[in-house]
């Protein structure tokens, strides 16, 4: 195996790198350092949580925590795609709000109506996202500014549809989040599905093109990637996942809220960064993001069982974010020194 990996090494003068093929374990470890740090954090938080509270290591707890984290996970999945492409999407906040108010005002007990409006919400999510991508490409604008603007617009529209929290969704829709299959609730199955879809998507040509564009846009363009199409798909998917997050969120709240979306904008970025996704694009995986979402959610539980003010939750989240960024920058430096 290792002999095959190097071609024509005999022609090469003494250079250690090429005469010693085989897997570069230390390099791979350094590459994954941010992700490993996130896993470590999660393990630590679970350990503390488990020592303070009984019944933490049970299927019930897993079901509960996954349901609590799923809205953030869906939003952060879209955000991860955008971050890997080297952009950012703030408009997901507006999309989530608008999704919940449409669901809360349009869903009836009739399943076909619910199905229809769910599709409308998902399609709207994709279209608005694609519009973001188009604006960014065609007008050559900063993603931060474009999505900030669409966030504001969507937020306003959500307020017009439903000025205050309210409306309702049918109880069977709410029950979806606790529906079980072989002991696992639907959010846990969704989590697994997200991972499988991601694993597939990242290995497709489109997935690779998105990562490549985030890694080096100029090179990707010179290689023949259509940057406009990449932006369209990337932001479209982000909008789609935000719409999905809205549909899930109403199973948790049972109502619509025109302001709730903003609570997911920065946490979706934070979850990704904690999980080792680079803000500069090109690097990161969904597994890390999902771990990051768990970390952020479990901190809330931890603050609760510690019987301290709930205001400590954002403080703890911030500290964890700083630690993750520090870990990845240390690993990055170590990796760079190895190259030179």
């Amino acid at each position: 195996m290792s002999a095959e990996q190097t071609v024509g090494m005999a022609q090469r003068p003494a250079e250690k790198k090429s005469t010693r093929p085989g897997i570069d374990w230390r390099g791979r470890l350094l590459d994954r350092a941010p992700f490993l740090v996130a896993c470590l954090m999660l393990a630590l938080i679970i350990a503390i949580y488990g020592s303070l509270q009984s019944g933490v290591f049970s299927l019930d707890e897993l079901n509960l925590d996954t349901a609590a984290a799923m809205t953030l996970m869906l939003a952060a999945t879209g955000q991860t795609i955008v971050l890997v492409r080297g952009g950012i999407d703030l408009s997901i906040g507006g999309m989530i709000s608008i999704g919940t108010v449409i669901a809360a005002t349009r869903f009836t007990d009739d399943p076909s109506t619910v199905a229809l409006w769910s599709l409308v919400i998902l399609a709207l999510g994709f279209l608005i996202g694609a519009l973001n991508g188009l604006l960014i490409s065609l007008l050559k604008l900063q993603p931060f500014l474009v999505t900030l603007a669409t966030w504001s617009i969507l937020n306003g529209v959500a307020m017009i549809i439903l000025p205050t929290d309210g409306g309702s969704v049918p109880s069977w829709w709410v029950g979806f989040a606790s529906a079980q299959l072989v002991g696992l609730t639907s959010p846990v199955w969704m989590l697994l599905a997200l991972l499988v879809v991601w694993w597939w998507f990242r290995a497709t040509r489109v997935g690779i093109a998105i990562q490549a564009t985030g890694s080096n846009e100029k090179s990707a363009f010179l290689s023949g990637v259509s940057i406009t199409r990449v932006n369209l798909v990337t932001y479209g998917l982000s909008g789609l996942f935000a719409a999905g997050a809205a549909l899930f969120l109403v199973t948790q709240t049972g109502a619509g809220s025109p302001t709730i979306g903003k609570d997911y904008i920065l946490p979706s970025v934070a979850a990704a960064v904690i999980g080792g996704v680079s803000l500069f694009g090109g690097r990161g995986h969904l597994a890390g993001t999902l771990i990051g979402a768990f970390v952020l959610t479990l901190i809330g539980n931890l603050v609760f069982v510690l019987h301290v003010s709930s205001y400590w939750q954002p403080v703890a989240s911030g500290i964890i974010l700083l630690l993750s960024v520090l870990a990845s920058s240390v690993a990055e430096k170590a990796a760079r020194n190895r190259v030179q």
């Binding site: 990996q5 250079e15 010179l222």
Partner: protein, 500 residues
């Protein structure tokens, strides 16, 4: 019949004419060299051919069909692939992912078929006897030379009828450059057209069947390679007689030691290096690539950690980081290897690039003095003859030679008098090369001390007062006077390996 015929090709960027009335013709199975100074229009020409930009006027016929690719993809579909000088590779993908990017073999699930990709990679590398490459290694871990080789593999992976090599040898060490020349001939024998751009006349001589010369955005002549002399070519390239590429070597070295290095070591790449660089001296650093030259320059500039002692103008110095190394008249300034990555901010103006590291020089009471800045910038632009429309032109839009001049200007503005020049003429055209050598001589005469590395050995031979030859991270020999020759450098660089 000709495979490619170009007539009256033109391209403007805003008010700037990059190409006008260019003509070109070449047939299958030939190696066709493009020659010309930087900014002569070669780059624009091949960018049009490869689909990266579109022409405004004129026509291109490929196989008798009108050819106007909308993007690089369309060009590749028609069998035209380019190996760019400024690389088109993705840092976060592996070598093989880069080679097959967007053309990956796929499984039934539409995902990349890794096993098939590995097999095809090894077959490709084997067919053209590529130098050692690890297919699974991430690109950002590779050296500049290795990346250039991956770029070549990527071009070949498209199995193109026309392959454009844009200064592909300039980033390669001698052995790999030689391999590339052999490869180029092999490709022509296979019936492909290779369009070859190089500033090294010897290479063009070695492999080109025909050549086309560009000047100021137009083609001035096309020749059979064996029917024209070097002198004629150079005259046509620059439009005047170039008196000489290398300035006269008048040693201006004094006895004052500007930089004394004792026992400098850094990891396994640099061990116990001792030397002294005198005021007014141009000291060359040579040897086979990868024997510690890069590490020496980085250690001196403080970009890598190193042990040992460094004395600047007689004073012991610890150089911790580039910012410290830059400071003041007694400092060190570096022209780095990768000018686009390390030396220049491409999206900033010429002015900003020049003054970035010396903002303090025109700050008064904490405020920037724009007049002072403008005066300094003008002085540098004039002194170095930087060809830019205005000082506000973006550095990324300058030709390679002019970018290099901006880096020189940036370095001179720091007022440091010990200069480290790492391959300052890489990818620079003949005319600008001459200017750079003359500049080095002038600076030496003014009392600057210059440490100079070049991957092109004749440059060391003709420009340096003394040459340090490095081998396995040590100084293997110091050549002076008549002992400085290509043979002398090679002998010193390789002696140990011969004995072993």
């Amino acid at each position: 019949m000709d495979l490619v015929t170009v007539k009256g090709l033109s391209k403007r960027y805003g008010g700037i004419v990059a190409l006008s009335e260019a003509t070109f013709s070449a047939c299958a199975g030939e190696v066709h060299a493009l020659l010309g100074e930087n900014g002569a229009g070669k780059s624009t020409f091949i960018q049009i051919l490869s689909g990266a930009v579109q022409h405004d006027g004129g026509s291109i016929l490929v196989d008798g069909q009108d050819y106007r690719p909308a993007n690089p993809d369309a060009a590749q579909a028609l069998g035209i692939a380019a190996v760019f000088q400024e690389l088109s590779l993705i840092p976060d993908l592996s070598v093989e992912q880069n080679i097959w990017f967007r053309h990956e073999p796929r499984t039934l699930l539409r995902t990349v078929n890794r096993a098939e990709m590995r097999r095809k990679t090894l077959a490709l590398l084997d067919k053209y006897s590529f130098p050692a490459l690890r297919p699974d290694q991430e690109l950002r871990r590779l050296t500049l030379a290795e990346r250039q080789i991956v770029e070549i593999a990527k071009g070949l992976a498209k199995d193109p009828r026309i392959l454009i090599l844009d200064e592909a040898t300039s980033a390669l060490p001698a052995r790999e450059a030689e391999w590339l020349l052999k490869l180029t001939r092999q490709l022509a024998t296979e019936g492909r057209l290779v369009i070859f751009i190089s500033h090294r006349m010897a290479e063009v001589r070695a492999i080109a069947d025909r050549l086309t010369i560009f000047r100021n955005g137009s083609t001035v002549a096309a020749h059979e390679a064996n029917a024209v002399s070097d002198n004629e070519i150079v005259t046509q390239m620059i439009g005047r007689h170039l008196d000489r590429l290398y300035p006269e070597r008048v040693s201006t070295a004094t006895d004052l030691i500007a930089l004394r290095v004792s026992n400098l070591s850094s990891g396994s790449r640099l061990t116990g290096v001792d030397f002294a660089l005198r005021e007014g001296e141009v000291l060359g650093v040579g040897g086979l690539q990868g024997h510690g030259q890069r590490e020496l320059f980085q250690a001196l500039f403080g970009a890598t950690r190193a042990t040992g002692a460094i004395e600047l103008w007689g004073k012991p110095t610890s150089i911790g980081n580039p910012r410290q190394a830059l400071t003041g008249k007694d400092g060190i300034a570096l022209v780095p290897e990768d000018r686009r990555g390390q030396g220049l901010l491409l999206t900033k103006s010429v002015r900003e690039n020049l003054t970035l590291s010396v903002i303090r020089r025109f700050t008064e009471n904490g405020l920037l003095s724009r007049q002072k800045e403008a005066a300094l910038v003008k002085e540098m632009v004039d002194f170095l003859r930087i060809k830019a429309g205005t000082p506000e032109q973006l550095a990324g839009t300058l030709s390679g030679g002019n970018q290099q001049k901006v880096i020189f200007g940036k370095m001179l503005l720091t007022q440091a008098r010990v200069l480290l020049l790492y391959d300052p003429t890489r990818g620079v055209d003949v005319g600008t090369k001459g200017e750079i050598f003359q500049l080095m001589r002038d600076l030496a005469a003014k009392g600057y001390a210059i440490l100079f590395h070049s991957s092109d050995m004749p440059e060391l031979v003709h420009v340096a007062d003394r040459v340090l030859v490095m081998r396995n991270g040590r100084i293997a020999a110091t050549l002076e006077g008549d002992r400085i020759s290509e043979a002398g450098i090679l002998r010193a660089a390789m002696l140990e390996s011969e004995a072993a």
